[in-house]
């Protein structure tokens, strides 16, 4: 019974958070000082060199207002918006690439972002925690302090600094990787996969370095505390080997708070990923957002925000649901 309650609560929270997020994005354009429709019409006019007639402009404005859901009273707008977004994932067409639907553009870029995120987050978490648990279990040795210092040095460095430093070091000073990555298009082939991996290494490395330091530090602290627990001491007195104690006793227990911490850090990690994409011109959601920001393509921006919220919240939910699999105290009440 405990598990079902737990799942229900988590899913409920998830839906509530999604709802609030979608609502905030609904109100966002209405809170902005600039009217996106005016801005767009201004752009069209400048492109068309003022050839459009007043009638055509009025018609365009009306269409846009309908599209944006800015007609009618606030409540009907809201309901209409919810309907469009939740059930159809329809964010309208992109302004810059009219009439390509926004959802299509984003869904093209999403796999890139997700791929980068998943790979680098998993590596950072696993590697960081493994190093951390070894450093914590053997915390009396000097090597452990060295590892901790590595963590302390890496952890406060922000994403953009890491990205720029990585470029500086590995694409300039020691030019192993390209200064600006280019991604091939076309059918999937081994060569293409290799090229993708080669060009993705620097952004992935940035994300891994960013998460690595924190994982080392927090895992080390947890491991030190866990090693003092009675059950670890008792295992020692049974003669259990260092390896078994470190893995089955210390790590299996210390990693639980780390899983929770991972869920809480998803927002930050996602931000970092977007930023890294922009800096490396990596064809993910981040780059799409940045270009949309320059060209005033608000539909793309709103679509991207909504999907971002969805992605982060869902990832959090997935982690929350995995947690009972790892902790039998939640699984069996």
């Amino acid at each position: 019974m405990g598990v079902i309650q737990y799942v229900a609560k988590r899913v409920g929270l998830y839906l509530a958070v999604l709802f609030i997020g979608v609502t905030i994005t609904f109100f966002l354009p209405r809170l902005l000082p600039t009217n996106p429709i005016d801005a767009y019409i201004g752009q069209i006019q400048s492109r068309a060199n003022g050839v459009l007639s007043a009638d055509a402009i009025a018609q365009l404005r009306q269409n846009l207002e309908e599209l944006y859901g800015l007609k009618g009273n606030l409540f009907s707008q809201y309901v209409g918006y919810l309907n469009r977004v939740i059930f159809h994932l329809d964010f309208g067409p992109s302004f810059t690439y009219y009439p390509t639907p926004v959802s299509g553009m984003i869904l093209n870029a999403l796999p890139w972002t997700l791929g980068l995120l998943l790979v680098s987050t998993v590596i950072a978490w696993v590697l960081g925690n493994l190093v951390g648990v070894v450093a914590g279990y053997f915390h009396t040795r000097r090597a452990a302090t060295v590892l901790e210092v590595v963590g302390i040095l890496l952890y406060p460095i922000p994403y953009y600094i890491l990205a720029v430093s990585v470029i500086l070091l590995l694409a300039y000073v020691i030019p192993i990787f390209p200064l600006s990555p280019t991604f091939p298009v076309g059918d999937l082939s081994l060569q293409m996969v290799g090229s993708i991996i080669y060009n993705s290494t620097l952004p992935a490395l940035t994300l891994v370095l960013a998460g690595f330091g924190w994982n080392i530090l927090s895992m080390k602290a947890l491991a030190v505390a866990t090693t003092e627990e009675p059950y670890v001491t008792f295992a020692r007195l049974k003669g259990t080997s260092n390896w078994t104690r470190m893995v089955r006793y210390v790590f299996r227990n210390a990693m639980l708070p780390q899983v929770t911490a991972l869920a809480l850090s998803l927002g930050t990690v996602f931000n970092g990923a977007l930023l890294t994409e922009i800096l490396f011109s990596y064809p993910g959601v981040g780059l799409i957002m940045r270009t949309a920001a320059s060209s005033g393509d608000y539909n793309v921006l709103y679509g991207a925000i909504t999907l971002s919220i969805l992605a982060v919240a869902t990832a959090g939910l997935v982690i929350d649901l995995i947690y009972p699999l790892l902790d039998p105290r939640i699984r069996h009440r």
Partner: protein, 307 residues
């Protein structure tokens, strides 16, 4: 531990079963000395250099560092220009100094704003509890889940025409208070069950009284650390926006200098100092803030153990 503090315990003594008498105990630290450990001192030194340097030195600068084409472009380091000049004809070192000052100023103001809001919300949610707490925490969790950068990108796009640097600060406050509020509230929760709060309650003190006189001193330790972390967050966020060109990049900040360097091909023209200098400055500044933060943390933690 240090061998100097042990008296010589010869094996003969041990074999004879005689315990060796202890050496003289250390003098206990007086007054505020408990606060200062290695990390904290190191961090404070670094911070002091940055703060004093960036706030005092600008008085000696005669040329507006943001003014382009003041000098020849991409000059190497020389006695006239210690870090050379940028691709836009500005003196790199002066630009950097002003950048540090502006980033710090923004960071501190935003830090104060976020700390004030998040403390109020966190304290009240934690102590009042009930439906109020649940609602507040739902909002807090939503704000935490909504990734900040996409929102900032939208807002950055919308306000690019806006000429006010502080607007960025306001936006960061509006979207950045959530995390700190959560931390403060969980700390208040653990406090609620502690004995001294119950004692105050039983002796008839009102809610506000308890908040101010009992909880606040305990919380203030977290506040100091939280404030520093918030400053870090604020400087970081502004720089993030600037690096991708969505802040007011004419204003020198740690982020905007990187933005200019990247967009004027610092690496291709060989002017890597333009890029390297802000990296080093940022890392050192953040290291200083971080050391102060963990140093305070360690000092408060050990004091709590004693107190």
């Amino acid at each position: 531990m240090t061998a100097t503090r042990q008296t010589a315990a010869t094996s003969a003594d041990l074999a004879a079963g005689r315990a060796t008498p202890p050496s003289r105990p250390r003098r206990t630290a007086a007054g505020w000395l408990w606060l200062f450990n290695t990390r904290l001192v190191l961090g404070l030194v670094i911070l002091a250099i940055f703060v004093v340097g960036s706030f005092v030195l600008p008085f000696f600068c005669r040329v507006d560092p943001a003014l382009q084409a003041s000098y020849m472009k991409n000059l190497h380091a020389s006695p006239a220009h210690w870090l050379g000049t940028t691709g836009l004809g500005q003196d790199t070192l002066w630009f950097l100094i002003f950048a540090v000052r502006n980033s710090l100023t923004l960071g501190i103001f935003v830090g104060i704003g976020i700390s004030a809001i998040s403390t109020a919300i966190g304290l009240s949610a934690g102590y009042i509890g009930g439906l109020y707490e649940r609602l507040v925490m739902l909002i807090v969790d939503s704000f935490i889940t909504i990734p900040l950068l996409p929102i900032l990108i939208i807002l950055g796009a919308a306000i690019r025409g806006n000429n006010n640097f502080l607007t960025i600060g306001v936006i960061i406050v509006v979207f950045g208070w959530a995390w700190n509020a959560r931390t403060i509230r969980s700390m208040v929760l653990s406090l609620r069950e502690r004995e001294f709060i119950n004692m105050a309650r039983f002796s008839g003190a009102g809610t506000l009284d308890i908040l101010i006189r009992e909880i606040f001193p305990y919380v203030s330790a977290y506040l100091v650390v939280g404030f520093i972390n918030t400053v870090l967050f604020a400087i970081n966020t502004e720089a993030t926006l600037a690096v991708i060109g969505l802040s007011k990049v004419e204003v020198p900040t740690l982020g905007s200098i990187i933005f200019w360097a990247l967009n004027y091909n610092a690496l291709f023209t060989g002017n890597f100092v333009w890029l390297l200098a802000p990296i080093v400055a940022t890392v050192l500044l953040f290291l200083g803030l971080f050391l102060v933060s963990t140093g305070f943390n360690a000092a408060f933690a050990s004091k709590r153990g004693v107190a």
